[in-house]
């Protein structure tokens, strides 16, 4: 165990460093949240001050909830993110299983090809994607976003999950085969439960860029009915005047679902990240 070897002094230093890092990382989030509860004048006069009786204001939330249809935007974001994660995990895990489990000609080439997307940003293909979506009539649908995000998330998912699936014991899968499990049951009932931590890791790494993305919603689905939260918040950012109250309130609200999803995955996530290091 690593614990026995670390001195209290050393682990003290480590904790101080981690706490400082946490404070730095959380500071912008903290700033957004406190300022979202202040009136416009106080945001500019005293950006670092906590909201008090005179500066407290919900005007930002008010405009977010009245202007534009933010409930719908939230719903859109949630649908796009969760459906994309589902497909990324499902197809990523299936491809990873095939690559790690079966010997076939071109196996490693295929693995390389599937992982290539990690290095080549999908945005380079935006024009072609847009043309494709126009041709198939998918512009301004959530389906368009889901398809793009699934494609975007797959390379990393396949890459991470293949490595993890290689570690699942062959004997276990063979025992399943002898007990009459089909390849699908071996995949869903034996292998998937064992790579759950890796799946959570992939889910979190997939989720955040999708939730925060502005590019594809703006290009592929800018209509009012398909706007995501990130795109929806942009209405408050004008060329000349920006409604900071509303922007900050919208951002604060947008953090919440991510937090919820993160907590759902986090226990598995930590296991996934450390499972290589700690036996």
């Amino acid at each position: 165990m690593a614990k026995a070897r670390t001195s209290p002094l050393r682990s003290g230093f480590v904790h101080v460093a981690l706490i400082i890092y946490t404070l730095i990382a959380l500071f912008p989030v903290f700033l957004i949240i406190i300022n979202s509860f202040k009136d416009r004048a106080s945001i500019f006069r005293n950006p670092l001050g906590l909201p008090n009786a005179s500066s407290f204001s919900l005007v930002g939330y008010n405009s977010v909830l009245t202007q534009g249809d933010f409930t719908l935007y939230f719903q859109n974001s949630l649908i796009v993110t969760s459906v994309s994660i589902f497909f990324v995990l499902l197809f990523g895990a299936m491809a990873a299983f095939a690559l790690s489990e079966y010997r076939f000609r071109g196996n490693s080439l295929m693995g390389l090809y599937l992982a290539l997307g990690i290095m080549i940003p999908i945005r380079l293909g935006t024009v072609a994607i847009l043309q494709g979506m126009v041709a198939t009539g998918l512009v301004n649908t959530l389906t368009a976003l889901i398809l793009v995000y699934t494609a975007q998330g797959l390379p990393l998912a396949v890459f991470i999950l293949t490595e993890f699936m290689r570690t699942v014991s062959d004997d276990l899968k063979n025992a399943g085969r002898i007990d009459g499990l089909t390849e699908y049951s071996i995949f869903f009932r034996l292998v998937l439960p064992l790579v759950k931590p890796a799946m959570a890791t992939v889910a979190v790494f997939t989720m955040i860029p999708i939730w925060n993305d502005l590019w594809f919603p703006l290009i592929l689905a800018p209509s009012d009915a398909t706007k995501t939260v990130t795109l929806g918040s942009q209405v408050f950012i004008g060329q000349f005047v920006t409604n900071w109250n509303a922007v900050l309130a919208a951002l604060t609200l947008a953090i919440l679902p991510v937090l919820v999803l993160y907590f759902l995955f986090s226990r598995q996530l930590i296991r996934g990240i450390t499972s290589g290091a700690v036996k």
Binding site: D171, L172, N174, G176, R177, I178, D179, L181, P193
Partner: protein, 333 residues
């Protein structure tokens, strides 16, 4: 019921030929053990028999029926793995019952068969536990139980005891011998351990580099090895192998004498040597001698006192030496 016939099985992984033409016949109810050095293809052969790996060519017949294209679950076999391979998320009971459930057996029957198997292996107290909550020996018993409930014609064991400690290994070995008598099923068993091989087997199959060197009962292999490899592999400590020319026997390339077939004397004998090292094992004393033709190991029964550098004379038992030709085959006397 559970006979097995293998005809000219070959298996290649890409360019590598792992099995190079295996022919073997196993009669119903026999206990057959595969031994051989690491990497000689024992596990691969077992997996081919189980159907977990397709043979590149050749035929496998279980119970007279060709099973090359039959999936593992339908071959009437059960397999026990070195790493136990229990389903981590299922209880002991469900681990044992899964195969039957997949085969669509009624719940009553599954319960009954699980009960019988768990009683046989004294697993009754652990039925509701997960594998993680069991000791290594208990896990291996569950793995054996999982094989038993399938009531297979043919059991396949791949080094089932090698992860257990010495005491547990002896116990589980006895248990497997008892199961074999009780179930009267055919068993094929892979091991590294000579004692396991000699004590359990009706028939030992010695493999080397993807080929079968010799098949025979433990005593046949011990008393009349057909090749140099088998002579050196079976028996512990290893047979002394000396160049024939050095012993004044140019007709034989190699001459082999088992350490236990040599007598020593302080005064006279065939070969003169000095003691390099002595090992006292209680029941045996192993003496390592340096002679004119190289090192010689001698195994004496009981306790004996010899000093390092002491000069001794060694004499081989008459009729107990083995002579091998330049193709490493035995020269019949």
């Amino acid at each position: 019921m559970g006979s097995l016939k293998i005809e000219n099985i070959r298996k290649s992984f890409g360019q590598v030929d792992v099995l190079k033409g295996i022919d073997l016949e196993v009669r119903d109810g026999e206990f057959v053990i595969f031994v051989g050095p690491s990497g000689c293809g024992k596990s691969t052969l077992l997996r081919v028999i189980a159907g977990l790996e397709d043979a590149t060519s050749g035929e496998i017949l279980i119970d007279g029926k060709k099973v090359n294209n039959t999936p593992p679950a339908k071959r009437g076999i059960a397999m026990v793995f070195q790493t136990y391979a229990l389903y981590p998320h299922l209880s002991v009971r469900d681990n044992m019952g899964l195969g039957l459930k997949q085969a669509g057996k009624p719940a009553e029957e599954i319960k009954e068969r699980t009960r019988i198997a768990s009683a046989m292996l004294s697993l009754d107290d652990y039925l509701e536990r997960r594998p993680a909550e069991l000791s290594g020996g208990q896990r291996q018993r569950v793995a054996i139980g999982r094989a038993i409930v399938r009531e297979p014609q043919l059991f396949l064991f791949d080094e089932p005891l090698s992860n257990l400690d010495a005491a547990l290994r002896v116990n589980t070995r006895l248990e497997i011998a008892r199961l074999h008598r009780q179930l009267k099923a055919t068993m094929i068993y892979v091991t590294h351990d000579q004692v396991e091989a000699m004590t359990l087997a009706d028939k030992i199959v010695v493999m080397n580099k993807g080929r079968i060197e010799q098949v025979g009962s433990p005593m046949e292999l011990y008393n009349s090895p057909q090749t140099l490899f088998v002579a050196g592999f079976i028996g512990s400590p290893q047979m002394n192998l000396v160049e024939g020319a050095k012993l004044g026997d140019p007709a034989a390339k190699t001459v082999g004498i088992r350490p236990e077939h040599i007598q020593v004397s302080n005064t006279s004998g065939t070969w003169k040597g000095s003691v390099i090292h002595v090992e006292h094992l209680g029941a045996d004393t192993i003496i390592y001698l340096q002679t004119d033709f190289g090192p010689l190991t001698v195994r004496l029964f009981g306790e004996h006192q010899y000093e390092v550098d002491q000069v001794l004379y060694a004499t081989p038992d008459a009729g107990r030496t083995y002579r091998f030709d330049d193709k490493d085959q035995i020269i019949k006397a």
